[in-house]
């Protein structure tokens, strides 16, 4: 009797004990930095100097900061340029490598290789390829087109970075689609074929509806990742963010503004809050569009 009472008393505590390590890690490394960023966004804190509460001054300042609007424009363009490609192309790739034919494992591995490659290595390789004296420009010159200068033009540089993001992300989303395609009932394809539907018709009428929720997931994941892009643009455009900083993205601006011994931590935090709000809005937008389609 006494033992059962003790057990009953201990019961409410034990789940918390199991959850404690996870809660602690989440609290220290996720919640605390998040709340800290939020609080700092209302201060004029510097890296080494104390901050004071300045209300909405940082947010007002960023409305008048040309570089903020450049960053917002580039991050938004990145979403617009990259997300459709990352929703469609990996699906087509997954359809290609889905079939069990001899040697297909090689192609699956090959398409997945860029995913596991370090982004720094990938960035450097593409910089070498696209440099004014790199392989691509040399080939174009040999072909009589002339050197394009992918890394010295503001828009070509951004497009090049987008191409690298798509190239690197293809394999990752291909794996997600492969899992989704494995769950598409074979009978549906067979029934459509019996009804006379060709490969394109079967893709549009059977495959796409079956993997629609996966496409939404891919759109949500890739849009958040695209809006927060840093490495590709930083490696290709350099720390200055391209010519006159015109290729700077919002996260690059956060890094540039808030780091170093003279970093404006308060202002960078305000920029981070904007990035957070926009990414949450993007997620909600994608999910809402999905719900509307379903209804």
């Amino acid at each position: 009797m006494a033992a059962s009472v003790r057990i009953r008393r201990q019961l409410p505590l034990s789940p918390w004990l199991f959850a404690a390590p996870g809660l602690l890690v989440t609290g220290v490394f996720v919640l605390y930095p998040f709340v800290s960023t939020l609080v700092n966004s209302f201060t004029d804190r510097r890296t080494l100097l104390p901050g004071h509460f300045v209300g909405l001054a940082n947010f007002r300042e960023l409305l008048h900061d040309d570089m903020f609007w450049t960053g917002l424009r580039n991050s938004t363009l990145y979403v617009v340029g990259v997300v459709p490609a990352l929703v469609v192309l990996p699906l087509l790739l997954a359809l290609l490598v889905q079939k069990n034919i001899p040697g297909i494992t090689f192609f699956r591995s090959a398409f997945y290789t860029p995913v596991v490659a370090s982004i720094v290595v990938v960035g450097l390789i593409w910089v070498w390829l696209l440099d004014e004296r790199g392989l691509v420009d040399s080939l174009l010159e040999t072909a009589g087109i002339g050197r394009v200068g992918f890394l010295s033009d503001q828009w070509l540089l951004l497009l090049s970075a987008m191409a690298v993001t798509v190239w690197k992300g293809l394999g990752y989303y291909m794996i997600i689609y492969l899992a989704a395609l494995a769950n598409v009932p074979r009978e549906l394809h067979e029934a459509a074929a019996v009804d006379g539907a060709g490969p394109v018709r079967r893709f549009l009428s059977v495959t796409v509806p079956a993997v629609r929720s996966t496409m939404v997931l891919v759109a949500a994941l890739s849009s958040v990742a695209a809006f927060k892009v840093f490495s590709e643009v930083y490696l290709m455009a350099g720390p200055s963010g391209g010519p006159a900083g015109e290729d700077t993205t919002l996260v690059m601006l956060v890094q540039r503004t808030g780091t170093g011994l003279t970093g404006r931590v308060g202002y960078a935090s305000a920029l981070s809050v904007v990035v957070f709000v926009v990414t949450v809005a993007l997620m909600l937008l994608v999910l809402r569009a999905d719900r509307r389609d379903e209804s």
Binding site: V35, V39, T47, L48, R133, G149, S240, G241, R256, T262
Partner: protein, 428 residues
């Protein structure tokens, strides 16, 4: 219902904790009295020196520990990349080493935050051991005091590719000596090569404006002023070079490393460097090394640019006498001279540059560069203002790029850069 209350309390703590970081930062400052017994464990941080100079520093530390029994020096070395970020993380987290290798622009924010010891107070007796200009290089406008021992100095010549000069019909034995000659040669080089060979690979930085004779700051050191007529003139000249492809098209995004690589591959004809580079050319670009030309830095002021390194003492050190003694030991005349003989740098101690090592020719290029550099150092200037932060450098660079692309006039671009830098200066 205690749980929601507890959750609320936790949320309040989480909200208030970050504000606690907004403290004064200098409340528990250590003493500047370095007169006590030299003893205790201290940490010494260098900036990317372990890879090539491990034995030198091991010997230096061993000598210090032998001289002062009861001391122990722990040496840490940080990579070159991201060094200011590492310093700011350490300074913010209260883990800044006792003795730190810094440059003047890194000392300024640390001194303002009360983290760098005023050596005029703690070690003023050593001042006469150093060159006057070198000692003054770690002073911060608006603050009294000196915040680091001067360590090694560096400067260098302008390297040029003689083969490219010949191909452009220029005399490889008569490199440009003035800005006028430089701009004329650069335009000719671009014209002769059909825009394929640029002469320069970098946009002008604040030190270039200084060397051109532009007034960088007002006399009080309270505002930047490089948007004067001279500044506009320099930027207009660079715009001409950019339009003629005499300035590499990728200069707008170049870093010193990438422009150095362009010089190595023969894509650009001239590049600033130091005696250290000769060895690099010899190893990595033998054909360039055979054609290498060496000439003096071009300056309108008569004073070449120099880079200064320093050794700072953390004002919060618990072992002030040991930290000050070690920082002085690292930078004293004997040890600086010994370091200079291992690497192509120059001591900042008074009289050291008169050593035969810096005055006697032996017929090699290395010695010629070393002697010329040592001679020019006696009147060299560190043109980069100590208050010119990374954010200001970015603002200048972006505005310069806009002017070169023709999006803004040189005057407008420099006005914008000065306004941005002054705004950042006022924000602290």
């Amino acid at each position: 219902m205690p749980t929601p209350r507890r959750a609320l309390a936790a949320a309040v703590v989480a909200l208030v904790l970050p504000l606690s970081a907004c403290g004064s930062g200098g409340d528990d400052a250590g003493t500047t009295d370095a007169s006590g017994k030299v003893e205790g464990d201290i940490t010494f941080q260098t900036w990317n020196l372990r890879a090539n100079f491990k034995s030198y520093f091991d010997g230096l530390i061993a000598d210090f520990e032998k001289k002062y029994p009861g001391t122990h020096v722990k040496w840490v070395d940080q990579p070159a990349e991201g060094y200011p970020d590492k310093l700011s993380a350490d300074a913010g987290g209260g883990t800044l080493p006792d003795v730190v290798n810094v440059s003047p622009d890194l000392v300024a924010p640390l001194a303002k935050a009360g983290l760098a010891m005023d050596l005029d107070k703690a070690a003023g007796k050593y001042k006469s051991e150093y060159l006057d200009g070198a000692w003054a290089s770690h002073q911060v406008p608006g603050m009294s005091g000196t915040y680091a021992f001067p360590w090694y100095l560096n400067t260098g010549p302008l390297f040029y590719n003689k083969a490219l000069f010949t191909q452009a019909g220029l005399n490889p034995d008569q490199p440009p000596k003035t800005y006028g000659e430089l701009f004329a040669d650069a335009l000719r080089m671009a014209q002769k090569s059909g825009g394929k060979v640029a002469t320069l690979a970098n946009v002008p930085t604040v030190e270039d404006f200084g060397r051109y004779g532009v007034t960088l700051m007002n006399k009080q050191g309270t505002a930047f002023a490089f948007n004067d007529a001279k500044g506009v003139e320099l930027l207009s000249k660079y715009k001409e070079l950019y339009d003629a492809k005499a300035l590499d098209p990728q200069a707008l995004t170049a870093t010193p490393e990438s422009s150095g690589k362009k010089f190595l591959t023969g894509a650009v004809a001239m590049n600033p460097g130091s005696a250290l580079d000769l060895d690099n050319f010899k190893k990595n670009a033998p054909s360039l090394y055979r054609n290498i030309g060496i000439t003096d830095q071009i300056t309108s002021t008569g004073h070449v640019n120099m880079y200064v390194m320093g050794v700072m003492v953390n004002s919060h050190t618990r072992h002030t006498p040991a930290a000050v003694a070690f920082a002085h030991f690292v930078t004293d005349a004997r040890n600086q001279m010994s370091f200079a003989k291992k690497v192509a740098i120059f001591p900042s101690t008074a009289g050291s540059l008169n050593d035969p090592y810096f005055t006697k020719e032996d017929g090699t290029d290395e010695t010629r560069v070393r002697i010329a550099a040592a001679k020019s150092l006696k009147s060299a200037v560190n043109y980069t203002p100590v208050l010119f932060s990374d954010q200001m450098k970015t603002a200048l660079r972006n505005e310069v790029a806009k002017a070169l692309q023709g999006k803004e006039s040189p005057k407008q671009a420099l006005d914008n850069a000065v306004n941005a830098a002054n705004r950042l200066l006022q924000q602290g």
